[in-house]
Symmetry: C2
Subunit: 356 residues, 2 copies
DNA sequence: CGTTGCATTTCCAACGTTGTAAGGGACTAT
DNA sequence: ATAGTCCCTTACAACGTTGGAAATGCAACG
């Protein structure tokens, strides 16, 4: 049977409350007493019962992370970053998968699925701008991702316009002038916000370089899955539109596009340079390796966890919702003519990263 | 403030214990009473406080899953499967990353990191056969993976010999006769068990087909990372050994090998057919898509969760440890001359799967 | 009509922790 | 010596739930 606070108190010759005071770093404990308690704790290998603490304090020290599916690379990496960030703050993470369904996402917001958590990090994939009202929930919630904006909760997201502009600028810097994009939204689809912002970044970069905007180069693809990237690229090639660079709105689209280019015998980057957005690990391992904009996922995870913990501990009237934009940077690889110093190495971002 | 059992009891006009009895599906509650309690619960949107329940019952309804890193595709898919399996049993999953370090894995076993859990699913990457003694822990533990065998706990794992044999047989069936393998272990390395078993499966298949074993075709690669697969393939090509098929001991090695083959201008599958093992999602998206043996990951997750829950609820003397081997099957794709009916589609295993 | 037996419900205590308020001891100032 | 003060420590209750035992109600029986 595991030791309890009472056991520790008995061994140390103090009351349980004094043990509690030592554990919680309360002031007003004599150093000698503190030491005695410490050694009793060590001797008994005592660890606080978190259920009891949770019951008494109303906090469990666990946060929920709701994502569509772990097997989607992007979300695995997000979960990885969140778990690391939470660990540093001594918080555990319960992962819940919504299955990328609307019902799943709504279920998560009902709070019926993730019990035992103090708050929720939520990265929706189906809910959109029209569902903002659903975010009004009776527990601390921090929103992630680019599907809903200006909601009632804190929101941490990448810089859509900036990173899209950076991607386009990167292609311009290596001399490309006919730059296609893949991932625009079909009219009135509710991916709107994010896709529109990226189109805006693209156009800003073009404008700054004095290049005219050509609608023929802007391709619809939704959702942003590999097969749609491949299909959009097939269309682009079939239409005979001339282009020497492609910016896909995420890496998954980009990998699909790369595959089509490879099958079609188009050389990358000689004939067409390709850059994605997300900087998922997989981008480093495609043939050729794919350049991408790193949207600052680690920073997003850190900040999101911090905000959530802040909200959990918030007393009194809640502060107004905050929106945080992460820093981004270009990771240049073979698909835009750069060489990976250490191709296939599994850790750290490539040193050929261009700081923003 | 959230409703408690007392609130429900008051509304329903019964005692708290009766509410508890309804919630826990105890017999001996009159249907009328049960109904009254049910509607009170609905009316108040009551949900049990899991901290209190955990305190009282000693169970939290949460299990831990310790894996090296979520960003490794294989483990993301494993975590996905485990979370789904656990959800069906109304159990939540706390994911802990060991960081693929020996210290991290030992720390997990100390139980100091994952508190608030009833038991642990542990998939080691660093610990090996010599560390078996560390698995003797004071909480329910189910071991996953192929690094440690015959330990003191339940163990769920793929069928190493069988799946390796199946991979080799698949290459034989499409007419290959000079079949190389990548992923053997350097002598005395502690990957031994798994790599050896796969070599055995390979040799069994060769023997059954009446083909002589040629040591020159057996290549060392450790750990099983992409870069080592690429390097082993470079060596194989550089050595001038003749071969028309390659079986890599996991998919990551295979993707690395595919990359090298592509760069070297060797045609897949015309010149060399390639098959991996693990059937990670990524295998469907490489160019060409890569055949693989599906080691039954979903089944492994299901069984592992079941065993763990059984152990958690076990009373009295523990039953002897059990070892479960999962069913495997070949997923045939372009790299062995098969066509994906739906290339790039993100769900379900390809219908070209050959059942085992 | 009292008794028995069973189904149903209630009462009480306990799980391990922490907040509150009060207690005890040592020191200082008078 | 005495009161006042400051530190440090303690006692007690409470968080919301469930196990066990006790109590109640009801029907059938003699």
């Amino acid at each position: 049977m595991a030791a309890t606070m009472h056991d520790v108190a008995r061994v140390a010759g103090v009351s349980v409350k004094t043990v509690s005071n030592v554990i919680n770093d309360f002031p007003h404990v004599r150093p000698a007493t503190r030491e005695r308690v410490r050694s009793a704790i060590a001797q008994l290998d005592y660890r606080p019962n978190l259920s009891a603490r949770g019951l008494r304090s109303g906090k469990t020290g666990v946060i929920g992370l709701a994502i569509p599916e772990l097997r989607q690379n992007y979300f695995a990496e997000l979960a990885d970053a969140v778990i690391r960030a939470a660990e540093r703050r001594d918080v555990a993470v319960l992962v819940d998968q919504t299955g990328a369904t609307r019902e799943g996402e709504i279920a998560v917001l009902s709070g019926h699925r993730l019990r035992l958590t103090d708050g929720l990090l939520f990265s929706p994939e189906q809910l959109g701008q029209d569902d903002i009202a659903l975010l009004q929930v009776p527990f601390p919630l921090v929103l992630l991702g680019e599907r809903m904006f200006d909601g009632p909760t804190d929101h941490v997201t990448m810089h859509n316009v900036g990173s899209a502009r950076a991607a386009t600028e990167h292609l311009l810097e290596i001399g490309r002038r006919r730059i296609a994009v893949i991932g625009a939204h079909p009219t009135h689809q509710d991916d709107i916000r994010s896709a529109n912002l990226r189109v805006r970044g693209y156009r800003e970069a073009l404008a700054a370089a004095g290049i005219a905007y050509d609608p023929a180069l802007v391709r619809v693809a939704a959702p942003w899955h590999r097969e749609n990237g491949a299909a959009a690229m097939r269309d682009l090639l079939a239409d005979g539109v001339e282009f020497d660079g492609v910016f896909t709105f995420n890496d998954t689209l980009g990998l699909g596009a790369l595959r089509t280019l490879g099958q079609a015998g188009v050389r990358v980057p000689e004939d067409v340079a390709v850059i994605g957005l997300d900087n998922i690990d997989e981008a480093r391992f495609s043939v050729p390796s794919m350049s991408s904009v790193d949207p600052g996922r680690d920073q997003i995870a850190e900040v999101a966890v911090d905000l959530l913990i802040e909200r959990i501990n918030e007393k009194g009237d809640p502060a107004p919702p905050r929106q945080i934009l992460a820093d981004y940077r270009v990771a240049a690889r073979e698909s835009t003519g750069f060489v990976d110093p250490e191709p296939g190495l599994a850790s750290a971002v490539s040193p050929s990263v261009l700081e923003h």
